[in-house]
Symmetry: C2
Subunit: 135 residues, 2 copies
DNA sequence: ATAACATCCGTACCATGATACGGAGTCAAG
DNA sequence: CTTGACTCCGTATCATGGTACGGATGTTAT
């Protein structure tokens, strides 16, 4: 069983140590007992696979557009019995994601037109505002 | 020629008055001359179609993922001669958008699995963290 | 056993994008 | 000619998601 310190956990999660501590303050990650005594760990908190999974989940959920508050709720639900709530949150987010994806796709199309209109071949000003206007 | 006050401009752009003023402070929108005298407008700034287009552009560009600083640059380029820079910015943003869209699509797939796994039919806890883990 | 390095923790600060407040001035309607 | 809505402007505050600092303590390599 792979145990590590906060720095290792941060590395596994692709975040900084300060970010881990921030998540702990937010209640998203736990703060394990400081291993007392002195031999091989004492006063220093040790983290395991579960913590790594949890941290990675936080990051993934963030890319899905959940706020840290919502992620907190998801983490609470993970242990709980309220399947319905979890289902609802997921559905809501899927709708939001579909909207967002459509929005970004439209923006991409505009940018393509813009890049085209302002192709590096010709000179003079290119109508940036107008390129977006055509949406 | 449709002229309006700051409240009308804000309404057209789908933002609040304070947001318009914020954009002015950031230099993204201009502050027209206050129409002096007293008959039909005096001391109050008036905005026109150009301002509305500009404001809408700002909002659209934001959904494309540009920061307000970048939008400031785009607005400056709109009048300028540097087609190449505009082209570059557009290209860069398209790449970033493609990444973001892929990311959101992956997240959507995870959420679909999650919604499925936590379907409202059965009881008990559902493994939220694990549903995302499978990515 | 001691230097070099990490951890722990509280607290402060940062960037981004707004939003709120409050007092003075402007303006249209009754 | 006042009332009520709106504008103007400076300045303050907020929400989100971090990042930085610094002193005390713990750990490890030489």
């Amino acid at each position: 069983m792979k145990e590590t310190t906060i720095a290792g956990l941060a590395r596994e999660g692709g975040v900084g140590v300060e970010t881990v501590r921030y998540y702990q303050r937010r209640g998203l990650l736990g703060t394990p007992q400081r291993t007392g005594g002195t031999g091989l760990g004492g006063g220093i908190r040790r983290y395991g696979e579960d913590d790594i999974r949890r941290l990675r989940f936080i990051r993934t959920a963030q890319t899905a557009g959940f706020t840290l508050d919502e992620i907190g709720e998801l983490l609470a639900l993970d242990a709980g019995e309220d399947r319905h709530r979890a289902h609802t949150l997921a559905r809501e987010r899927i709708v939001a994601l579909d909207e967002k994806i459509a929005e970004l796709s439209a923006a991409r199309a505009s940018l393509l037109r813009l890049a085209d209109a302002c192709g590096s071949t010709s000179k003079g000003p290119c109508p940036i505002i107008t390129a977006f206007d055509l949406e």
